[in-house]
Amino acid sequence: MINRRQLIGGSVGGFFAFAARNRFAHLFGDTVASGNGLAKRCLVLWMEGGPSQIDTFDPKPGTENGGPTETIGTSGDFQISGLLPTVAQQMHNLSLIRNLTSDEGDHLRARYHLHTGFKFVPSFPRPALGSLISHETPAAVVPKYVTLGGSGFGPAYLGSDHAPFTIENTQQARTLLENVRRRGKRLSLLRELDEPFNSRQNDHRVNTRRALLEKIESLAATKFADSLSIEGISNSERARYGNSQFGSRCLVARNLLEAGVNFVEVQLGGWDTHANNFASVKRNCEQLDRPFGALVEDLKSSGLYDDTLIIWMGEFGRTPAINGRMGRDHFPSITPVVIGGGPINTGLAVGQSNANGTQIDGNSYQVADLFATILSAFGIAPDKEFTTDFDSPTHATEEGTVISELLESV
């Protein structure tokens, strides 16, 4: 298998592979203007419901399980579904993981697993990846973890400073911030009238809430509010993003990354295709294709790509066999992931499924391995220790090892 990045920029890759191997690699982070530096940002395109791998990134044309999906050549070393022509042209900037396996077949449990890297244990809450990235990156005035189009998981023991800023409706969120700006007078009166109570108390929760109240005042004054708007963006630009709701969200995501938000998750629902799989997947891909392609292209040309991880994933894959309702059911055994940006090697398909897509051929990776790879790309040691609210020591990931095809390190 040919690794384009190694062919093109072997020495640069070598240097950063060396840097990543060293724990103090992050010291180099700021000096990297271009090239494959460590990641500082992350964009997740979350396919809510569990996207069918066979109809997207691991097609099986000409087999019974393959269905009507046709394939298309890409700028990477592999073919993908013909439903994603724009994405196909960006595949040299992305890699596929075709051998990721999991055993979580329930939506909530799988959503949790792919958002935190850990299995769901209600009494042992784990921080979402977004919260962890927020915690591990320098403080900022803007929220560091934003979700668009759906909710995200919380910060667990990392504290509410690292909770997601969840935006269902960008216009509403913007109005919210503008109202705060307008009501600045009220907030300063609040601060004044609340002061006697606050200074009398001796409780960390009171202090935390006081700090939060101050934070909303300062938040209204940042460019965060403005980046929620796509009003200034031209029609042709919007057309590149497909003029859909998901497309608009992707445009906002681009703005947010540029405004300094470290972790943005954009959700696209409709992938739980137990019935009429092919019509639904086609509709979903029509929504997904242009914004996904445009985002990668734009991040590349703005240079953000070099320190931004781009991840496409959902809860799980879907059964290769087509059920009686022309649908596909939950299939965690193969969970498709697309990843690129930052120090990740791209243009590759990692691993493979067998001819009719029923199982992984050869080596496979676990969700924990994916998370070890993501964290390593940020220069965060996968075994970094944390202490929970109930004083239990724990690690950033669950004993994962870095996927070596994607990142040379550790």
């Binding site: 209600p122 108390q201 001796n202 929760r205 809430r209 939060l212 109240l213 909303i216």
Partner: protein, 461 residues
Amino acid sequence: MIFRSFDFSALIVAAFVAAAGGDNFTTHSQRIDLVLQQRHEAEGITPLPRCNDLTFLRRVSLDLLGRIPTSEEITQFELNPDRAAIIDSMLESDEFERFVSEVWTGWLLGYSNAFNTDRELFRIWIEREIANDVNFQEMTRKIITADGSVAAKGQVNFLARHRYNPAVTVSRSFLGVRLECAQCHDHPFDRWTQDDYRQMRRFFSTMRFSNRDGTIMLQDRNANNRPGNRPTFLTGSEALTNRYREELALYVTNCKPFGRNFANRIWYQLMGRGIVDPPDDHNQENPPCDRKLLDQVTEIAVTENFQVKPLIRAICKTEAYQRQSADSTTSATAINLFAARQIKPLLPEQYVDSLLIATEQPLDSRRRRQMIRRAVGQQNLNEDFQRTWDYRETVQQLLEKTNVEIGKQTSQSAREESLEQLYMRILTRRPTSEERMACQDHDKTDVAFALLFGNEFFFNH
């Protein structure tokens, strides 16, 4: 230290005789205060005095009814500030039963309908059980042995919600014992071994969940094991029959940690911190702040046969409950030993109901439910709420909260009424002279806003 030898006699035969004559509950309260007094003297701590009447009214109203008092209630109480009487009357109200059911549902299930459960049905079940004076022992037994559909029987929802780790959740909720560590290895600082965990898990091994017509059904398959092969409880006792969950329910509800956990849990909910704190983690490295106090409160719980109301009544009537809240000069030891009141943030339910009262808005149940979900916060919906008093608000939530229109009615009233009326309605107290000065040049709507979203409103102190 915790328990190994199984001791039915201590709990089932409640051999505690209340002091002869007089009011039982006063006696309970006095006993608690006596234990604390002895400890405070030994430590050289001077406890804070009683809080004033209005602070007490706000506190007890939030704790027992889940909301701040209305203007009329404030007026009534100022005319006759009988603390014992108002505790008694609140305990007999419907609002009390509803609010306790809400607090317990948060504790036992959290706030979502995860895994196709019906949280509201569980809550209604608890509310009815409390209204019917079913004690906590019996409720726990029903929860552990529940079967049937989550849509038909409220109590089934507990195990359905926790079906992926029932052993851990039952131990933690009803015994205050955390087996999480023992899932993978022996507990690092307690006696629990991985085998204890495996054994506990076996009690649930007969459970079968099925999805019928979109609702979750819980049924048991038959177990068919001979003595010697049946699961053993944390005490080392083996199940006597093959009806594992029945057996477990008996063991759980009759062992000493069950009583301690119940007493400590109720204490935690009212006092803002546990005698064992955090309340869901009784272990050798986390002993009670005062062993005698835990024994005393447990004894009351047992004497009162695990009824909820008498225990709450006893705690609310103590001096400890009625003290002033800690200030910046109070030592950590004094707070730990309940020589000063520990403040606590409002629960989502308390916050929403109080906001509705303070802004004179009607209590529409559908709107209320939406507001509560929002107050919990999207990112917290599936989280665990065993630690009721953790603070979880985020910037975004505060942003959204402070953005609600406080209503024409409120603005109208705010302009018409005096500053004193406004303070009474929102903060259950009169403004100080400094506050009168500070508010002088401000629109009353702005003052109302500042009071509603400030910390003083958001905490129960």
